[in-house]
Symmetry: C2
Subunit: 596 residues, 2 copies
């Protein structure tokens, strides 16, 4: 159950798909070439493999516990987090002004994957802290930045996102927590927040809560929500933690997975009001929160890839070692390791191809994010931003749904042993299920994809992507190998299916909203499938060229075989999905409500 | 989290798909008409809803425990099992000669579904007992029958299946347990068996283990395996339990799900040898074991349907109650129950259609089983037997794989609450995962489907089914409604895809075994999809006719809407599956073994 970081694949993507050398030409990223990427990834691999990965099983068996307001994390977590902070990992992607290293997302995202493969529960704490940093950087006053950012970037303190309330989950319009302005410019915050990841713990000296609440007299709905910082300990003049704030953990949840990560119910203001500081302007909280959410959504997508990778590695190890039955082709005389059986190969290839496809998609999304922020040309920034924003719901939605299938196959490869908790395969299956839910369910991602990312621009961004896919198809046909042609064929069918669906979404979203949203998740899955398959098509082209030059031939051949498997076994689902979405929309809502 | 037995749907299938009135014409089943079916199902519904279902959550929170050789089951289980036995439920399908009620499987299977929906863990004990009864009925000597059958049929004692050993899971050729003949005609059995469901418990006075072992000098491999009865307590002359036999539980497993069901490691012969009685002849154990296995495989398929039904009911209840966000079509002014959102409807319809499709498939399989056993005409018996045998791997494989998707959607409908154990949705997700593994993994079912059920007769049985599907397509086209035509269209495409794959399987199984077995599970899924969709097509025809007569119109309309949804959203996957199987076979095994 050890973990080996997939450095070759991560670096292949960084070099050839995300094109790190282009990113290193952007102002601010001059130091972030391939050598830097390699050095950082290798260091991160060591840390995650040696320090964080061994705590994964321990976290499941000995989860965070709650007693009288105090949360005690899994033994080893506190020390590992101190090493994480000391290694400067929290600041990897954050500005040097606040003590960070200012590296591009293209490099940072690879490190996020490794940390999450090592330990999903552990990695959630830094993930949420990243979101808090992002929100303060974008919308925080200079005073708030000065008070909180360095401590967060250094990993001395950690951050949280407080959105959900018992009645307000996906629907933030229903948020009821309230904030009362005080004469000194601060606010007093009152309310109950649930599902707060690392809302209370013992790994840092302070916890910086970012909290949605309504100021008295604010408009109803999402336009009346403001964002506040409520630290667990108020901060003294000298920057040290001072008086305890009136925010208290009253319980933590008993969950199916990611058990080491404490999920807190937080009570604000039961003893006079929690001191909060407004972030940005009143009533613009949702906008700021979306900054955190978008960073977090991408990161949760990477969590899906990460847990799938871990499940894949474990399944491969078991399949090599477990001896059972004779191969059907007679290639081994007696019973053989089950990796010799075609169906086990099918399962492992399905796992591998899904992981590599989603990883490649996440890599190009990260590169677009970097260019959208740092490119000197405004048009290039805008194009990259549109591409990135289109990809965020796919990275989040598709990669996490993929992780459910992959972790399920991980259990299946183990047979009966997979169902026994000691084996460890079941933990990945249990852990992964939260990923399609938190930071916006797959349906919420799909709403975003349909509404803001497809219908709003009449399908323009989607079709620009389709045009790029078509270009890759042409390149594959020109390359001319049987593998390339097979991939081109499936890519072409999937792209045509995608364009049909985009036209349906763009043209019908006002006229037939039920029909459009009935197909929203299948559309997301189709789009994610296409983009992942497309990136593997691009990978095949690179791999074929490099293999011809004799460069790491075995790795390149594996890349080609994986791309073809993906095309033939996963991309091939696209036309069926098109039919269901476009021709089957009405049957989704045909059953009378009282007939369920 | 209560359970309401889906009596209407079960009886619809029994009456219109399984055609109980035809079964009641078979010798031995004269009493088993629709009225009997209805009376039995209603009684079973009461018992399972009121007595067994409330123990489901309790079993998860307070599982079976092990201490010093003794297994204590969940509080309430022992009493519920006594009621189960007293109600005569164990004997429902077993011969009156041994105290059973001799009802057809068509009725019995519906009761098995209810018991499993109520409580998967609880229902496993009767399920294994059924298998033991079946094996003794078929191969046991009169003496063995006299000693054990009445006690098993009455539910006074329970049965187990002992196949697996640490090195022998799917591969029974590797069984090492051994049996030494004794002068009195009995044997002494030695060895370790693992994964023995209800291998030890406190719910019955005796446990009748059916055990695979090798007699000294037996041929190697599966042809040298014999089947033995080893009761926990030897049986006195008067039929009462006597001396403790040398079979002992040394531990039980810590599992991801079905926690209330004890999964035992049994040690045979550590104190001189466990007394065993040969069932049938030496070295024919595998053959007899398959009798138990086939009964058990069908029943495990029904478990998939059952847990999916329970997850569906819970998801519907939550979706009606949870208020969140405005409907996209503006049909409700403010926030509405989430059942109004098209994607929630899509999830619920996917759950519902899968459950109803698989339930319909299981119903016609049960009817075929009854006819195969009781039909006076030999040809009819043989045809029904072939049909039943073709369907067993589909009922087992497809229904259980379906249950993974459905229970996952069940969690998803609950959003964040689904991941919290108190909600109960997560239990179904954890419980279901064993179903694709035990009694033969999905791959083992698929091997059976490809080898014994398709290649052996050159695809004849498969094509006979395709011809029947085609007949249903014609009937649907003749019916002429938009719903019927839509179903016919998808059925036709799926049937053509199926025939292509059958031809591939039948023609290539010797020439290209790797290619064939690389597609075995996708073939099973395609075949299951087709047969389930076909049965819903038949259901649509019946429902349309009855609705026209004004009979239970709302139910009939729901049946029609569900059939169409199934066709458009699930059957529509079939052509893509065909492409992957037939055109993508080589890419499954293309990756070099050391490249994983």
């Amino acid at each position: 159950m050890s973990y080996t970081a997939p450095l070759k694949d991560l670096l292949f993507n960084i070099e050839h798909l995300a094109r790190i050398e282009e990113i290193a030409k952007l102002p601010g990223f001059e130091e972030a070439g391939l050598d830097t990427a390699q050095a950082v990834l290798e260091e991160c691999a060591k840390f995650t493999q040696d320090v964080v990965a061994p705590l994964n099983v321990e976290g499941d068996r000995n989860p965070s516990s709650f007693k009288a307001g105090v949360v005690t994390t899994t033994p080893g977590f506190k020390d590992a987090f101190a090493q994480y902070a000391a290694g400067g990992w929290q600041g990897l992607q954050h500005p040097a002004d606040f003590g960070g290293q200012g590296l591009p997302k293209t490099i940072g995202a690879a490190c996020v994957e490794m940390l999450n493969s090592a330990n999903l529960s552990f990695a959630l704490c830094p993930l949420l802290t990243d979101g808090a940093i992002e929100a303060l950087l974008t919308a925080g006053s200079d005073a708030l930045k000065a008070t909180f950012l360095e401590k967060l970037v250094s990993g001395e303190w950690t951050g949280t996102m407080n959105l959900t309330e018992p009645q307000a989950g996906s629907d933030l319009a229903l948020v009821r927590s309230r904030a009362e302005p005080q004469p000194d410019g601060s606010y007093k915050v009152f309310g109950t927040k649930i599902f707060i990841t690392y809302g209370e713990h013992d790994m840092a000296d302070n916890i910086v809560h970012l909290v949605l609440a309504r100021v008295a007299g604010a408009p109803e709905g999402v336009k009346g929500i403001s964002l506040f910082v409520c630290p667990k300990f108020l901060v003294n003049e000298d920057g040290s933690p001072g008086a305890r704030n009136d925010v208290h953990c009253v319980s933590i949840e008993h969950k199916m997975g990611i058990k080491a990560s404490p999920t807190a119910v937080l009570q604000y203001g039961d003893h006079g009001g929690a001191v909060g500081y407004l972030v940005g302007e009143e009533n613009r909280g949702l906008e700021y929160m979306f900054i955190m959410m978008n960073a977090a959504r991408y990161a949760v997508g990477v969590q899906g890839i990460a847990v799938a990778e871990r499940a894949y590695q474990q399944a491969v190890a078991y399949a090599r070692e477990r001896v059972q039955s004779r191969p059907v082709d007679g290639s081994v005389a007696g019973s053989a390791a089950i990796i010799h059986h075609p169906d086990v190969r099918r399962m492992l290839m399905t796992m591998r191809a899904n992981v590599e496809g989603c990883r490649a998609m996440a890599a190009v999304a990260a590169a677009a994010y970097d260019a959208a922020h740092q490119h000197p040309d405004a048009d290039a920034r805008q194009q990259n931003q549109a591409f990135y924003e289109f990809l965020v719901p796919l990275v989040k939605g598709y990669s996490t749904e993929m992780s459910l299938e992959v972790t399920s196959l991980g259990v299946q490869v183990h047979g009966g042993m997979g169902f026994i908790e000691e084996t460890g395969a079941a933990q990945h299956y249990r852990d992964a299920k939260i990923l399609t839910i938190y930071e916006g369910t797959t349906a919420i991602q799909a709403n975003d994809l349909v509404g803001r990312k497809t219908a709003r621009d009449g399908g323009q961004t989607a079709k620009a992507i389709a045009a790029q896919v078509q270009k890759t198809e042409a390149d594959l046909l020109a390359e001319g190998s049987a593998d390339a042609k097979a991939v081109a064929q499936r890519l072409s069918a999937a792209r045509e299916a995608f364009v049909d669906v985009v036209n349906f979404m763009a043209s019908q979203s006002r006229a037939a909203p039920n029909a459009v949203y009935a197909g929203s998740v299948p559309y997301l899955m189709l789009a994610g499938n296409l983009v992942a398959g497309w990136q593997l098509g691009r990978s095949l082209l690179v791999a074929s060229e490099l293999a011809a030059k004799g460069q790491d031939v075995a790795f390149m051949q594996a890349k080609i075989a994986t791309a073809r498997f993906y095309a033939e076994h996963i991309l091939s689902k696209a036309p069926g999905a098109r039919d269901a979405i476009v021709e089957g929309a009405d049957s989704v809502t045909a059953l009378a409500l009282d007939a369920f």
